[in-house]
């Protein structure tokens, strides 16, 4: 199905199943521990051997000697595989750095071997017996240093075009602006830290391999595993029915899948592998640190006349920049604009996408800078943002947003949150020892269109089954796909069987970039349209006027049960949604507003979040239950990145020092208060037939800025170096001793 004109009325508009709060259909399995994750397929594989992956002890250099003899002689060991005996390996299209190192080492904890043994305990112990000699080479580990000579890497979009993105004459307008700021913000490297470690189980059958893994994008992983192993795709099968969190860390093929396949081939046994937690932060990808400079110039009435956002980040050779300036092209009005990114080559682990790549760190800076500017103008930060709303792409004024209700998000939020009680003068509200402040930020992220396919079956038993390689990484895909098929075929979601995450199913959008829900359900919609035609045809109905409702198929005054339609043998509808044009003609984005109240301990500088509200405008909300969860989860991650999360770089050894979950702190229960989320009632007909857009990342975009602004409002101390840990404002707080 080609989607190239705005969606008209369609069966989804009925909203008898879609749009209704629905508990997760996979819930009963998840809460009873019966949902099988990659390492847990005991039913399918009786006695796998256990693999343990060994990481490099240096960040840059060469392995001069790798002695596996002691490991091979250790009890229970079946095989040891290193680059030397892995055979020729390719590198995945989506990988910047190869997934098995040696003799060259590209980064700390890059995998250099797998030890396979009868038991996990034996594999782990034998891994400690590898004797590895290295010749260390000088590496580049300092972003500040790297950015001094870093090349321009584009203007905010893909990073492919090495030129700045300019509108009007920024320098002139900024120079002439009566009110202006010029500020620099930094954000550190972040770790996805998903709860399920990277894990895979590989089983060879002749020259074919099937791999259960934990991966967000089955088609990417499938293609890249085949490419890495030098095999035709048909001989590789990837399955990922349950994914224990990804946040972008599992977008790509990672070493666990490759090493499980190599280990299983060498051991001639099914092998399962999970990366040890202390190896994950350096072995896997991370969100790169950024150095950002923001300049805003405005007239005295608060109209932005000039805005510049420049961001620098680092990555491995061949990598790409963190697109932290991207949102600044579209979020606010302003006739003169400069957007630029710089990329330094570093030998730290591979940087790559983490939830809301670009906007997450970019809006931590931009939305705090907007707060600084509002204060300088003597304006309320909500009013300042509203004043600079734009309904068109500022670079192409005839290109409208398909739907943009940022102002309503801000106004609704301000009212619900009690924004009018905020004191503009920082440091003026106290609650006992706590300094109390409120902060606001806009939320913004583009919606992306992705081709997405699905197959829907109506069994001879009347059961509807959806098959697609879409994944559910906690996002609620199982449920919203069931709701979509249920709506299209007139049955409750509970009666739809959803099968996900298998490379033998039609290729979907996958889970990432907040493109999953809207595109994958649109793909299911397309397949359902096909199935509806097949049903109508079998029943001898005119497909144009057929309705599917409450288990019945009706055309004019003729009616049959859906079950009856299946009786003559299984009917299958398969299709994919493809997009053309509308996202060029319109800017399709999602919007929101974050409101946060914090308390800052006037003695210790400790920050605790007291209240949080997000108002989101993201098209039709397919399932308010799981959509709300996406938003509160993103808000939680935003609190983490603002208050505590930082991969600390040891610039001598080129590694992230705090590489476990005790030392890389993410928020715990006690950090997060009750969270409120409001969805504006929307349906975006330019987006897709579902009239839905992404939500999973919108919830993260801006939260950090709102928290930071609340801290400033509480303390009067502006910290521009994230995370805002207590030492950064401690000595500027009121005297206490």
């Amino acid at each position: 199905m080609k989607f190239d004109t705005p969606a008209g009325a369609n069966p989804i508009d009925t909203m008898t199943v879609v749009g209704r709060p629905h508990t997760r259909i996979d819930g009963p399995l998840k809460v009873t521990g019966l949902a099988p994750y990659a390492y847990e397929h005991h039913k399918e594989v009786e006695s796998p051997a256990y693999g343990y992956v060994v990481g490099s002890a240096i960040a840059k250099g060469r392995i001069t000697n790798l002695d596996t003899s002691a490991a091979k002689a250790a009890p229970g060991v079946i095989a040891v595989v290193t680059a030397e005996d892995a055979g020729k390996l390719g590198k995945g299209n989506f990988n910047t750095v190869k997934l098995l190192g040696g003799p060259e080492v590209d980064h700390y904890h890059q995998a250099i071997a797998i030890v396979v043994a009868e038991t996990f305990e034996q594999a782990r112990a034998a891994a400690g017996l590898l004797k590895v000699d290295y010749a260390r080479a000088k590496g580049r580990f300092d972003l500040t240093e790297g950015l001094k000579t870093a090349k321009l890497a584009g203007g905010g979009d893909s990073g492919n075009e090495a030129k700045e993105d300019r509108v009007g004459d920024f320098e002139k307008a900024f120079g002439e602006a009566p009110v202006k700021i010029d500020v620099e913000y930094t954000t550190p490297d972040h770790s996805h830290a998903m709860m399920e470690p990277f894990a895979s189980m590989a089983v060879w059958e002749g020259d074919s391999v099937k791999v259960w893994t934990s991966n967000q994008m089955i088609a990417w992983g499938h293609g890249d595993l085949a490419k890495t192993l030098g095999m035709p795709k048909e001989k590789v099968r990837l399955m990922s029915p349950y994914v224990g969190g990804g946040f972008g860390g599992k977008l790509f093929l990672r070493t666990d899948a490759v090493m499980a396949a190599l280990g299983a081939r060498a051991a001639k046994r099914p092998v399962k592998v999970a990366l040890a937690r202390p190896m994950m932060a350096n072995n896997a990808t991370h969100r790169p640190a950024t150095h950002q400079r923001i300049r805003i110039g405005a007239t005295k009435d608060g109209t932005i006349t000039a805005i510049a956002h420049e961001s620098g980040s680092g990555d491995q050779p061949g990598g790409s920049p963190e697109i932290a300036a991207a949102q600044t092209k579209l979020l606010y009005a302003g006739s003169n604009r400069l957007i630029a990114m710089r990329l330094a080559e570093l030998d730290l682990p591979e940087g790559n996408a983490m939830r809301a790549p670009g906007e997450a760190p970019g809006m931590m800076a931009l939305e705090a800078a907007m707060d600084e500017m509002a204060e300088k103008l003597g304006m309320d930060p909500v009013a300042f943002r509203i004043k600079n709303d734009t309904q068109v792409d500022p670079a192409k004024p005839d290109r409208k947003f398909s739907q943009r209700q940022l102002v309503r998000c801000l106004e609704t939020g301000a009212e619900k949150f009690g924004w009018s009680k905020r004191q503009a003068k920082p440091g003026s509200v106290r609650d006992g020892k706590w300094l109390v402040g409120m902060g606001v930020a806009s939320a913004f992220r583009n919606h992306m269109n992705m081709t997405s396919g699905a197959r829907v079956r109506l069994g001879s038993d009347g059961i509807v089954t959806v098959e697609t390689d879409m994944t559910d990484i906690g996002t609620g895909s199982y449920t919203i796909i069931a709701q979509t098929a249920g709506e299209m075929l007139g049955v409750p979601a509970e009666q739809v069987v959803v099968k996900l995450g298998d490379s033998s199913f039609p290729v979907s959008a996958g889970s990432g970039g907040q493109f999953g829900a809207a595109n994958a359900t649109a793909g299911v919609y397309a397949a359902c349209v096909k199935l509806r035609e097949a049903v109508a045809q079998r029943l001898g109905y005119n497909s144009a006027d057929v309705t599917f409702k409450e288990g019945k198929v009706t055309s004019g005054n003729r009616s049959a049960s859906l079950k009856d339609a299946g009786r003559g043998g299984e009917l299958v509808g398969e299709d994919k949604i493809e997009f053309a044009g509308l996202d060029k003609a319109y800017q399709i984005s999602t919007f929101g507003a974050h409101f946060v109240e914090v308390g800052v301990d006037s003695y210790t500088g400790v920050v605790r979040v007291r209240r949080m509200l997000a108002v989101c405008a993201a098209g039709r909300i397919i399932n308010p239950v799981s959509a709300r969860s996406q938003v509160i989860g993103a808000m939680t991650m935003g609190v983490g990145s603002t208050l505590m999360e930082e991969l600390a770089v040891d610039k001598r050894f080129g590694m992230f020092v705090n590489h476990d979950l005790a030392s890389y702190e993410v928020p715990v229960h006690a950090d997060i208060p009750h969270q409120d989320v409001i969805f504006l009632d929307e349906a975006d007909d330019k987006a897709n037939p579902m009239k839905a857009k992404g939500i999973g990342e919108l919830g993260l975009c801006g939260v950090g800025g709102a928290v930071a602004n609340a801290i400033y409002n509480a303390t009067g101390v502006r910290v521009r170096d994230y995370p805002i840990t207590l030492e950064k404002h401690l000595e500027k707080l009121p005297e206490v001793a």
Binding site: G128, D650, H659
Partner: protein, 316 residues
């Protein structure tokens, strides 16, 4: 994790003998710290002596009005004991500020005193660490040291003792009771129990090989108001950047010890005498000669401000 043999000891002297008699043997009780370190081969015992059946799991009143806490009493049970909550509240406060409910259910009193530093370089066997491998150097010095020590450290090691319970016990003048392979008992004041690193950072405490902790005794209650102020980035389940254990009397005198700053709970009696003069006076004396790094210099003002918070609360 290296392979080891395992035995479940039936009496304390036999247990002590089993460990004293062979190099590489260790006691295991709750195991929450030891197993963590064994998995990454920071600890590589060849033999484990499980002491859980030795019966040191009671809290009893002593003749002189104090409490005797069995070495195997769990953190949870110690914190929950009514006498402790009433008379030694600083101890309950410290314990419940540490770790998580699950860990406290398993962690023992003795094990908590013996927990090893959480320095990231100690935990990473690719990095030089004099504590893990004597003579190999200290990668933490000149590295990322925000969590690490500011006083009592040495040019061999700048790690801290990470616990909370012991900081409260230091304020309470707890005494650690042990038994050795010969059946000899000794009592070690907690002030002397944890070593300053000096040139032997591999030795955390003054215990001899095979010496087994049997109990911790608390002298008579001090009265006063009890506080444990733990400062950390996240609200729970995190090690202290700085912690303050304090017992403050109505007249403004009292006792105070700091956690998260040194190789042991940091208490300086002369500094304590300055409590009526306020937090700044106390910390100026307590941290005299401190050698913080650029990353952790904030711990000095933080200690002062955390103590000021306690003193303000004591005044009510």
């Amino acid at each position: 994790m290296k392979a080891f043999t395992y035995e479940r000891a039936k009496d304390p002297v036999a247990a002590a003998r089993a460990v004293a008699g062979r190099s590489g043997a260790k006691f295991i009780a709750g195991g929450t710290n030891l197993l963590d370190l064994m998995k990454i081969e920071v600890e590589t015992p060849t033999h484990l002596v499980d002491v859980q059946d030795l019966g040191f799991d009671k809290i009893e009143a002593t003749k002189d009005g104090g409490l005797r806490i069995g070495a195997l009493v769990t953190n949870t049970d110690l914190a929950a004991d009514e006498r402790v909550r009433r008379d030694y509240a600083v101890l309950t406060r410290a314990i419940v500020a540490g770790a998580s409910g699950q860990l406290r259910n398993k962690a023992s009193t003795a094990g908590n005193l013996l927990q090893r530093t959480r320095c990231s370089y100690f935990y990473d066997t690719n990095m030089a660490c004099n504590k893990r491998k004597p003579g190999s150097g200290c990668a933490a010095i000149g590295g990322y040291s925000r969590q690490l020590g500011i006083i009592g450290v040495s040019d061999q090691c700048i790690a801290t003792f990470p616990g909370d319970m012991a900081v409260a016990m230091r304020v309470l003048d707890a005494v650690i009771e042990t038994i050795d392979a010969e059946g000899q008992r000794r009592s070690i004041p907690i002030a002397d129990f944890h070593r300053l690193w000096g040139d032997k950072p591999e030795q955390d405490t003054v215990l001899k090989p095979g010496e087994l902790i049997t109990a911790v005794t608390l002298p008579r209650p001090l009265g006063g108001k009890h506080f444990y102020e733990k400062v950390r980035d996240r609200a729970s389940y995190a090690y202290a950047l700085v912690s303050v254990a304090a017992v403050i009397q109505d007249d403004g005198t009292g006792r105070v010890a700091f956690g998260g700053v040194a190789p042991r709970p940091w208490r300086v009696e002369e500094a304590e005498a300055l409590l009526p003069k306020g937090a700044a006076a106390v910390t100026a004396r307590a941290f005299q000669g401190a050698t913080p790094t650029k990353d952790n210099a904030f711990k000095l003002p933080l200690a002062t401000r955390a103590l000021a918070s306690v003193l303000a609360e004591a005044k009510g």
